[in-house]
Symmetry: C2
Subunit: 252 residues, 2 copies
């Protein structure tokens, strides 16, 4: 009998991303691993799911304690496929990432990486989204191992409440060592000046989404603040959107 935990790994930067390979490398000593990741880049797909066309996962690698599937789905699709179609049993843990780029503050809402973790939380599976504060496809992940390992083992051991998962953001590598791990809240920040306007060869106007990220949140206990001080930022996040403080203020 196999007592090793079953870990489902996905991401939104595609099956080819270095961040995914790093996460697989860290998880394999911890448990049996099933990777279910998209062929295409799914950054910015949020919690999109595929209902207009079918999903066709392909098993591309199999070793003892390891399976790797490539799919045409989104990160949320991939978790659903794992939970309900491909895995022989419910995974003990879902980890997503390591994303190339921060998913701190409002970025969580656009993030396929975090959608995968939230999708796990919906079914009460302990889930973690890991992101590195470096958008480069060639980002350096060499400093992340111990932090990812510590957080993963803690969640495996202690679990998480149903409907809650972790949004973990790791500072970009620098000449200063990361100072540690802080549990913090989502900063109130947003993107401004979001479009670049161009004309095509036929004179038609089109727009590229872009923008500048602005953090105007002065609080000391946010993910943005922790990252800026070279800490790993851990935000417990939930699938319940209710603004509880407003419940008794909106009267009909």
């Amino acid at each position: 009998m196999n007592n090793r935990p079953l870990i489902l790994i996905t991401n939104d930067d595609s099956i080819h991303a270095p961040g995914l390979r790093k996460l697989i490398e860290i998880m394999r000593p911890i448990g049996d691993v099933a990777v279910i990741a998209s062929e295409q880049i799914m950054s910015g797909m949020g919690h999109a799911v595929t209902t207009k066309s079918p999903l066709m996962p392909r098993l591309v690698k199999e070793e003892p304690g390891y399976k790797e599937y490539i799919t045409n789905g989104t990160p949320a699709d991939n978790v659903k496929l794992g939970k309900h179609a491909l895995l022989e049993r419910k995974p003990d843990l879902i980890v997503s990432g390591i994303n190339h780029g921060s998913n701190a503050a409002i970025n969580i809402i656009y993030s396929g990486t975090m959608a995968a973790a939230l999708e796990g939380a919906i079914d009460g599976i302990p889930s973690i989204g890991f992101s590195l504060d470096d958008f480069s496809p060639k980002a350096d992940f060499s400093h992340v191992d111990s932090f990812v390992d510590i957080i993963t083992r803690k969640v495996l051991q202690e679990g998480l409440p149903e409907g809650v998962c972790l949004n973990v953001n790791i500072p970009k590598i620098s000449d200063q060592p990361v100072k540690g791990i802080k549990t913090v809240r989502q900063a109130k920040a947003r993107w401004v000046e979001e479009f670049e306007k161009r004309a095509d060869p036929y004179g038609r106007t089109y727009y590229w989404m872009g923008g500048v990220f602005q953090n105007g949140d002065p609080r000391s206990d946010t993910d943005e603040k922790a990252l800026s001080e070279n800490y790993v930022a851990v935000v417990p996040v939930q699938v319940d959107f209710t603004a509880l403080s407003m419940l008794d203020k909106i009267k009909f």
Copy 2:
């Protein structure tokens, strides 16, 4: 000078949806209207945004106090286009829908309709997502007018805090009149048994996402409960995902 409020309307069922036309009909007496909606159906797109390809909105209709744009974007894209590219001033209100199908409970997380409203809330624009508890493309919207009107005028008058919008779900038409409007919380419910497995003509396995919606939330103050009792369910929802109750429980 024009003192009428500027209302941005979008949805996720495409510019051709009867639910969108109903919303436009209700909004035009209330303010100046700009419709920015997708050519394609965007149901289940969650908070996806388009960064891999450009957006090309087309102005397809213009009358005094009314503009209609068709786009190749997602609902979140359409709100961003409105806020930052197409509209001459910041809208006073964003309304999204009326969705063909409930966005109560966990459906909010997959919903393009609600992504549009949440995108408005990020920038502090009072925003409302309206949905009818009837998935049919031919859904009957004839009983919704007064409820949509009341909720809209209340939000225009009183505003909403930055980062908060409303998720409004309206019961399907029946032989009983809707009883009224209740402010409630998001029910804890989920989809189960989510895939139908098939083989293509070449023997390859593929999957259609499906499933059964299960509400196991016994609380009396949820959106599902209100809908089941024939009330319009209004849930104030927020863009802050932080699970506050867990902040002091996850220690490193």
